[in-house]
């Protein structure tokens, strides 16, 4: 048993930091965090291995790989969690997630391995008694866990089809906790870790995250600013 805790990063959150040139802030956050920043092998593939093969994104991939090398990010093996155990649970989660909603043409496949692997790792850590949260910027995985009914309504409206929900499967997703890059940036702001110290820096950073893919509305950004 360990007294440590963990933040599990999805590729979408790492990418928001990376594309905004804010990896330094992520490193600073890690320095004050009494725990580990974890990425699964599947997330490593999406955030490092795959972009490493593309000229346009190789530099970003190298920078993120550097964070694995300096142990800002660690693999789950650092907590004694085997890749094979995560893989098995990942497949279970992906299979369940992709059959929660059924339309007229069959199951609606919503998520992929990287996203499912974050859920799998979170469950494994929880079973080990390690407090953890998932940092995910893309909206579908978060909504599947937090607001599945609203997600169903949204899909029905967007896809113009009636959707049936497997309520038993929904229950598998209800115990996860999520934050986004925007909440992490808020912590960095409150703890004085930001390189830029102007009064409007927080606003600028929250919008920068939004425009690089973090699913956050303008109202939510305003609410965060009101907490300053």
């Amino acid at each position: 048993m360990t007294s440590e805790k963990a933040i599990i990063f999805d590729a979408s959150t790492i990418i928001s930091f990376s594309m905004n040139g804010l990896l330094r802030e992520l490193r600073e956050l890690k320095k004050i965090f009494k725990g580990k920043f974890l990425i699964t092998e599947k997330v490593k593939f999406e955030a490092i291995d795959k972009p490493m093969t593309i000229d346009r994104f190789r530099l970003e991939a190298i920078k993120i790989r550097g964070m694995l090398e300096d142990k800002t990010f660690e693999l789950p093996t650092s907590f004694g969690v085997k890749h094979s155990d995560i893989l098995k649970k990942t497949e279970d989660y992906m299979s369940s997630a992709n059959s929660v909603f059924t339309g007229e043409k069959g199951e609606i496949h919503l998520i992929e391995l990287g996203e499912a692997s974050c859920l799998a790792l979170s469950e494994i850590l929880t079973q080990k008694g390690i407090p953890n949260i998932i940092a995910v910027d893309e909206r579908t995985t978060r909504s599947l866990c937090e607001t599945p009914r609203e997600l169903k309504n949204f899909l029905e409206k967007k896809l113009h089809t009636r959707i049936n929900v497997d309520t038993e499967k929904i229950n598998l997703f209800k115990n996860f906790k999520f934050i986004r890059s925007t909440e992490l940036i808020y912590v960095a702001y409150k703890r004085g870790l930001l390189e830029l110290k102007n009064h409007d820096t927080l606003n600028a950073l929250l919008y920068a995250m939004k425009y690089k893919g973090c699913a956050i509305s303008r109202d939510e950004i305003q609410e965060i600013e009101n907490l300053k």
Partner: protein, 187 residues
């Protein structure tokens, strides 16, 4: 291929619009494939969406037509659409797949300076369609994998679209509560 009748209608509409040089109608036709692509995630439907959107972008830019190789490329595209229409009408699944592959390849196998423009347009069309699927509720990674693009490309493109973040699927927990979770985690 799923929704064959719909795809057939779209390809026939595209063919007629190419002849008229009507890029707006072609773009509109490509958007009609999004629902089916999101629902079925059928690679052929997705391929048609990307190809047709690419064609619309090519048709609307008059300057490409002056580049060497355009006439040959135009004929190849036109013939490719014709072949695909015929194979769908004959219910020949295998041939339809082959024709779609040929059509897609003809967009990337062009010589000279036209090649780099077309490849760029094809890439942007893939990102555009990925963004549409993400808007329709599929996850970011799912969408990127379906379209063969990176999360980096999708994240920055989708981030510019208000329709993604301003129409959330319900808020879940409050903003304040989510901040509290983050702050507590950092002790």
């Amino acid at each position: 291929m799923q929704e064959k009748e719909n795809i057939l209608k779209i390809l026939e509409g595209t063919k007629a619009s190419i002849q008229k040089g009507d890029a707006a109608t072609i773009k509109n036709l490509s958007n009609q494939t999004t629902n089916t692509a999101a629902l079925t995630q059928d690679p052929d439907n997705i391929a048609v969406a990307v190809i047709i959107y690419s064609i619309s972008k090519l048709i609307e830019r008059k300057d490409y037509k002056k580049l060497p190789g355009w006439n040959e490329f135009y004929k190849t595209i036109f013939k490719g659409i014709d072949n695909t229409i015929n194979s769908i009408k004959k219910n020949d699944e295998q041939k339809t797949k082959e024709n779609l592959d040929n059509l897609r390849n003809s967009l990337t196998k062009v010589s000279g300076s036209l090649k780099k423009y077309i490849q760029d347009i094809f890439r942007k069309a893939s990102i555009n369609k990925a963004s549409k699927l993400y808007e329709h509720g599929l996850s970011m990674e799912k969408t990127a994998n379906l379209l063969g693009i990176t999360l980096f490309e999708l994240a920055s493109y989708a981030g510019q679209k208000e329709s993604v973040s301003e129409i959330p699927f319900g808020k879940g927990i409050s903003t304040k509560a989510r901040i509290k979770i983050a702050m507590e985690m950092f002790g």
